[in-house]
């Protein structure tokens, strides 16, 4: 059995994994990247459109260009990586087992592990669309791989269900290929991806966007022949009589992403409601020395945000190795972070009391769009410890707040804090 040793092992060589690994290497610790695909870069490699890097590099890059900047650094800094390698097990004492064709079974011993496995797409089963099960149904990302990497077209005429970013980007990409995109159908009354994609990918190409509709049936026994769509009420009931048939040979699904946490679960770490691992303000999971960052933790809007989070995870892993590794310095006193009204999920899930004096980065998403809201932090006694006004919130936009809780008046007696996004009181009064 081939054996490796490293201070930090990074699982996944996408945007998150690469940035975390570089961070660790810059602190003169040894790091090993394990990637299951044939190349470094992860999913950004198939994202050949532009729009990447505006925050990180203040330049507009394509996905592969964005990845290449990090790949170049990995090569320059001689960071070791193994490709085409699947991690199959993580043990509690931070041993990893992986397999690949060349080396067989691999054992890696590490002081810290950074999870950066990314996310996967929701499928038809997850949303239970009735009808036949013909060929011609793909997730948008799968179609993207076929078109951009393999060089094949999955169909001629398309309906895209869900207005996630990949769906909208594929609508434009397929139009360029000479295919016809009949419609992008979105169950919500609003677009679930970024506004810029709505404008640049749909509106600029005259691709119809049909909101408050969903696919209610798939037609065609062998290959897709069309879909039925129907209008959906606020309570998600189908409005009778609103059904329409759209002829197409392919249905793409862009109905959401789920953090990919099979390994995390297998390692014994807790997961939270959003599908990502429970982490504290240092992005450490419930297993000491195992950190998580990027889309495996929470699905981000932009790759730049993944990079920023991954750098934090890298820094925290370094800090862990330098100060806590092998010592009896357990984190014990915890404050729970609870998603309250109109908050879908929240990271971190827990906060260590000894870090209260430092600025903590909170990231969260709302459940539904709202205008003129108040973002409020409350402690367990319902005392308000922090509030901030915001003009507009929408689920497709991740909210980020950097808060020093101690300065806000949180002390060591605090047990939990709840974050809620509520209509501003003055708005309520106006409406009365």
């Amino acid at each position: 059995m081939k054996k490796y040793k490293a201070d930090v092992v990074v699982i996944g060589a996408g945007a998150g994994g690469l940035a975390a690994a570089i961070e660790v290497k810059e602190a003169d610790l040894s790091v090993l990247i394990i990637e299951r695909d044939k190349e470094l870069g992860g999913i950004t490699l198939q994202c050949i459109h532009n729009g990447f890097g505006l925050k990180e590099f203040e330049e507009e890059l394509t996905g592969p260009e964005y990845a290449q900047r990090f790949i170049n650094k990995v090569i320059e800094k001689k960071i070791p990586y193994i490709l085409d390698t699947m991690v199959i097990e993580i043990t509690k004492d931070k041993k990893l087992y992986a397999v690949n064709k060349k080396e067989g079974l691999i054992e890696v011993e590490a002081k810290a592990i950074i999870l950066a496995m990314g996310c996967r797409e929701k499928t038809r089963g997850a949303i239970n669309i009735p009808g036949f099960r013909p060929a011609g149904i793909y997730t948008a990302g799968q179609a993207q791989r076929f078109v951009n990497i393999e060089g094949y077209l999955p169909g001629n005429t398309y309906v895209i269900l869900g207005s996630g970013d990949i769906g909208m980007i594929m609508a434009r990409r397929l139009t360029w290929e000479g295919c016809t995109v009949k419609a992008v159908v979105e169950i919500q009354p609003y677009v679930s991806g970024l506004l810029r994609n709505q404008v640049q990918c749909l509106e600029d190409y005259g691709i119809p966007l049909i909101t408050s509709y969903t696919v209610t049936r798939i037609h065609g026994r062998d290959r897709v022949k069309g879909v039925s769509i129907a209008k959906i009420s606020k309570d998600y009931d189908r409005i009778i009589g609103s059904e329409k048939f759209i002829e197409c040979d392919t249905l793409l699904l862009s109905v959401g992403l789920i953090p990919e946490n099979e390994l995390t679960l297998q390692a014994g770490a807790e997961l939270s409601k959003n599908g990502g691992p429970v982490v504290d303000e240092e992005l450490e999971t419930t297993i000491e020395g195992i950190f998580a960052c990027g889309n495996v933790l929470q699905v981000h809007d932009l790759v730049d945000m993944v990079t920023a989070e991954a750098k934090r995870a890298g820094k925290n892993a370094i800090e862990y190795i330098n100060s806590r590794y092998g010592k009896e310095l357990k984190k014990k006193e915890l404050i729970k972070c609870v998603p309250g009204e109109n908050v879908n999920y929240l990271k971190p899930d827990i906060i260590n009391k000894q870090n209260l004096s430092e600025e903590i980065i909170f990231t969260f998403r709302v459940k539904y769009p709202d205008r003129r809201v108040l973002i409020q932090f409350k402690d367990q006694n319902n005392s308000i410890i922090y509030k901030k006004k915001k003009i507009y919130v929408i689920p497709s936009e991740m909210l980020e707040l950097n808060i020093n809780l101690e300065e806000s008046g949180i002390n060591q007696d605090c047990k939990s804090i709840t974050i809620e996004v509520i209509p501003r009181p003055e708005v309520l009064i106006e409406e009365d």
Binding site: I88, L105, R133, A135, R223
Partner: protein, 490 residues
């Protein structure tokens, strides 16, 4: 031209079970299947339950066949190495008056030789045996011999073993005409012609169509649709197969584990007219969930990974039609409704008896090998074995399906096995890439690549499950180029 002793029409579990049973004897046997693969019809989409045998009324032959068939499974599973677990079933009574019904089933079932039937009224014991069961339970009929099986893996195993013992399999062979002349049946398909002294009609939903080809039109078959929802592996673990107390109309909607640790709920029973209508419906999915909730209130609906529907051929008599017909040498094995899967080995025994009457030579071959080797699975290896395996063959080290941890080697084995996979679904049902929670999101392009390479066909010709089910339509730029030239691609 070869004249076979027996030709079986239909490669479902019944046809393949008969094929494998006949492969024991010194007979020339062939099987014709209209789809691209065996196990493509009723077999592919059913509950995978091996029933204990108390449920059918005594006047039906399916009751005896089921009780006998259940017993035959133990040896078959050992010889053929398909996934099979005798986990036992509960028929659940939710109201006091249903207890009487269960007691009656227990009494009659025990008399007829169903082993171990037990009426349990101790709620604590019931909940201990199956913690997911509803608190509303007042009693259960426990049948310890009930079991779960992978119906398609069993069928592939049967086909493989039959082929190992000399049965010829011909897929993509839809039978168009049968002529009976000079005691020989001449069977015409689109591309070929086959000859045989005896024909076994195991054509499932198309049983009547085949029977009519030799002038036999004495039964009716009605397609009945059953819909299912399948849940993710980690979402719930059931110990028992859970049935509601049956009504006069149906066995009801069950909640059941599968041999791969998934849970499913279903089926409903909808009589339809179109033999190809395997579409699920919104109403049907709602109906089965409601049915499931009655037994298991915490059904993991959010973890559903697939819904699907299967069709069964329901005979007018509600009983199996297994006949040595008036057309000498033509045996009907049709109307195999539930518990058809359970009865498969007993049905095959009956067919052998018929063939003996028809003068077939039922001497056991000297070189008959009943063992179909267990497919090697990555998941079953220890770390040391794994390391050795990858060194012997690097294809063990390339993971294609991450949800189910399936390496390339298992896929190659599925393709190159006797009666091997030729389609993406064929690979998926044989060794599970694409069966997991991402439903092929990650592995499908890689499975297409492997099939294209191994079968030496272009990507566009790799099919999901047969004709007209291609995944990819053309190379990129082709459509755009055609448009530029002024001609639309068809």
């Amino acid at each position: 031209m070869t004249v076979y002793d027996v030709i079986i029409i239909g490669g479902g579990v019944i046809g393949c079970c008969i094929a494998r049973t006949l492969s024991k004897y010194d007979l020339k046997v062939a099987l014709l299947e209209k789809e691209a693969d065996v196990s493509s019809g009723t077999t592919k989409a059913n509950s995978g339950v091996v029933h204990a045998g108390y449920a059918s009324p005594r006047e039906y032959i399916k009751r005896d066949m089921c009780i006998r068939g259940n017993k035959l499974f133990t040896q078959a599973a050992e010889e053929l190495n398909f996934p099979f677990q005798r986990i036992g079933s509960f028929v659940v009574a939710l109201e006091d008056h249903q207890i009487k019904e269960l007691e009656e089933q227990r009494r009659l079932g025990t008399q007829d030789g169903v082993p171990g039937l037990e009426l349990i009224l101790d709620k604590e014991k019931i909940k201990y045996m199956e913690p997911n069961l509803t608190d509303e339970v007042v009693g259960v009929l426990h049948a310890p011999t009930a079991a779960i099986v992978s119906p398609y893996e069993m069928t592939y195993a049967l086909a493989e073993n039959a082929a190992m013992n000399g049965v010829k399999f011909f897929r993509n062979q839809k039978v168009r005409r049968i002529k009976h002349q000079n005691n020989i049946f001449v069977i015409k398909t689109k591309t070929s012609e086959f000859r045989s002294s005896n024909v076994i009609n195991a054509a499932g939903l198309y049983g009547l169509k085949i029977s009519k080809m030799v002038g036999l039109d004495y039964f009716t078959l009605m397609p009945r649709k059953g819909e299912y929802i399948l849940f993710d592996r980690n979402a719930m673990h059931l110990n028992k197969i859970l049935f509601p107390t049956p009504t006069k109309v149906s066995k009801g909607i069950l909640v059941c584990p599968t041999v791969s640790d998934n849970t499913f709920v279903g089926p409903n029973a909808l009589n339809i007219t179109d033999k190809k209508d395997t579409a699920t419906t919104e109403a049907g999915l709602k109906e089965i969930l409601e049915g499931g909730y009655k037994l298991v209130p915490n059904l993991p609906v959010r973890a559903s990974i697939k819904n699907f529907a299967g069709l069964r051929a329901i005979p007018g008599t509600y009983d199996f039609i297994i006949d040595n017909t008036d057309v000498y040498g033509f045996i009907n094995v049709v109307g195999i409704l539930s518990p058809g899967l359970t009865s498969s080995y007993a049905i095959a025994e009956r067919v052998v008896e018929f063939l003996e009457l028809l003068g077939a030579n039922t001497k056991i071959k000297e070189d008959y090998n009943p063992i179909r080797p267990k497919p090697e699975r990555f998941k079953d290896f220890t770390k040391e074995e794994l390391d050795r395996k990858i060194k012997e063959d690097p294809a063990w080290g390339r993971i294609i399906c991450r949800c189910e941890t399936i390496p390339e080697k298992e896929i190659l084995n599925a393709i190159h096995a006797p009666v091997g996979a030729t389609t993406v679904d064929g690979v998926k049902f044989r060794c599970r890439p694409g069966m997991g929670r991402c439903q092929g999101g990650f592995c499908r392009p890689r499975v297409i690549e492997i099939l294209s390479r191994e079968l030496n066909i272009p990507y566009e010709e790799v099919m999901k499950r047969g004709e007209d089910t291609n995944f990819l339509v053309s190379k990129t730029k082709e459509i755009a180029l055609l448009r530029l030239k002024g001609g639309e691609k068809e």
